[in-house]
């Protein structure tokens, strides 16, 4: 492993434009997307999101932070094809998104392991349902079990595993599908700090190995600052991007970057923006 200093490349202090340089290939794109929800028992609608323009570039790690209820998960659902925007368009690999597109994998915050299946069957479920050849399923599942440190627990049921291990099962189930776009909705939200740091390292490792594009929704600024190439800061409802921070990390990086001055700078900048929005959510709109 290279030294921590070599993981960092010099970058401009400010990069507030939603779109990175045009030379990078667009992978998933939101154009002028809004989302409104109907209020239960009323004809009123509330404005949850947008209008938002956002381009995820091929192979980048993009995180979204924002105050509670700002529409982060809605944004992810729209990228995943799990929710339709009220207006605007979504595309993935140049095609309009209608339903969940092929090549997209999602890991949710809530435990989504199947309690009636052991770890091996959980991980291979999606492949079996897609009609993948048995030998190929076994090969990919064996690899994922090793990669995610689950080899010794292949026959265990989710009820016998800790929260962190169950989340790794869900990540492995997504990984074996070889998605080109991985969407993570606060996947480490229920884990303790040290497990989150280690899971973050594993996530970076799998991101490097798969070259997939990653969108991470998180409420943890340090997690976003550590893992991402770019971090989008969202405003309180309706969710809009108020800043996009380029972290400037090298692709070869791990959790040791948390001890660098640059990490502190990125974190401070994220918090500076987010503090105001969080105070608005708490009803302290002037941000004092």
């Amino acid at each position: 492993m290279s030294s921590v200093a070599s993981l960092i490349k010099p970058v401009a202090q400010s990069a507030a434009q939603p779109d990175a340089p045009a030379a990078r290939q667009a992978h998933a794109v939101l154009s002028n997307v809004t989302r409104y929800f109907d209020r239960t028992g009323s004809h009123e609608r509330f404005h949850a999101l947008g209008p938002i323009d956002l381009t995820l570039h091929q192979g980048e790690f993009f995180s979204v932070v924002g105050p509670s209820g700002c529409g982060k998960s809605t944004l992810l659902d729209i990228f995943a094809g799990l929710a339709e925007p009220t207006s605007g368009s979504v595309s993935f690999e140049g095609r309009e998104v209608k339903g969940v597109p092929d090549g997209v994998g999602v890991v949710f915050q809530e435990d989504a392991s199947f309690p009636w299946m052991n770890v091996r069957d959980n991980i291979g479920f999606g492949l079996r349902m897609a009609g993948t050849d048995g030998a190929e399923v076994k090969r990919r599942v064996d690899y994922a079990l090793g990669f995610m440190g689950l080899k010794d627990f292949a026959s265990a049921y989710p009820a016998q595993l800790s929260g962190g291990m169950r989340q790794r099962v869900c990540i492995a189930r997504t990984l074996v599908q070889q998605p080109r776009l991985i969407l993570l909705d606060e996947p480490f939200g229920a884990l303790d700090q040290q497990t989150r740091l280690l899971m973050g390292d594993e996530l970076l490792r799998l991101w490097r190995e798969t070259s997939a594009t990653v969108l991470l929704i998180t409420h943890a600024l340090d997690e976003a600052a550590m893992l991402s190439d770019r971090v989008g800061v969202m405003s309180s409802r309706p969710g809009l991007f108020i800043d996009i921070v380029e972290t400037g990390w090298e692709r070869e990086r791990d959790s040791r970057i948390v001890s660098t001055p640059r990490f502190g700078e990125v974190n401070a900048r994220l918090w500076e923006k987010l503090r105001v929005e969080s105070l608005k959510v708490m009803g302290l709109a002037d941000g004092r």
Binding site: V106, Q109, D111, S162
Partner: protein
Amino acid sequence: MAADTASVRVSPRRPRLSRADGVRLTVVVVFIALVELLCRTGVIALSVMIAPSAMAAHCVQILRAGTFDHDIAVSLGNIVAAAILSVLLGFAVGVLLHSAPRARAAIEPLLSAYYAVPTFVFYPVFIVILGVGAAPIIAIAVLLAVVSMVTATLNGLDRIPRSLHKTALVLRLSPLQSALRIKLPAALPYLFTGMKLSVAYAFIGVIASEFILSGEGLGYAIGYAYNNFQNRDMYALMFLVLVLVTAINMVLNTIDRRLQARRRR
């Protein structure tokens, strides 16, 4: 990840008898022993009740002699038919109501009040419609048992985690694959609770209906023995019903516990 690894539990051993289990067992044993004592000492007259040990001995005797084999077979056949019909019908109605929220909102309060209705008052109606025989007995038992399955199905479908619904979409499963491979197994522990209740209600419905609606079956045989002062037969058959219900419940509870244990987080 060492901490994670360490948190994996070893396979659970068969649990020992808990303190509560011990107390429960003691209460039952003491009660039976007390009844035995009261019967044996003549405090309870032989014409009123025979001792539990005599009930068990006579039950073995009539089973060996095959005296009531036909009645036992008829009752068990009716119970199985009523339980299967209740489970299938209850599940179908539950799924339909779950898929139609407006209909559910209108009907669910009726389901909550359902057990306030004495189902047996409908027996003349069933005789008129279905005639005499197994059909009205099974119909009353189904009427009694079906609602617990409807309620359990609604409860089970409600409790499927949202993340599993979304996972089915992300894995691009067809509606049938999603229903059979995710929703059904996810709801199964709740459905099984409904099945357990349906079997219990089917048992009650069939035995009780046979008292008034039948010329055969365990309920009829108990009633016949009662009317003819055949105390030994009556108590032996009652003992048999209790043993059957207990045995079936124990089997169903064991399966239920295993299903629930696998769901535990």
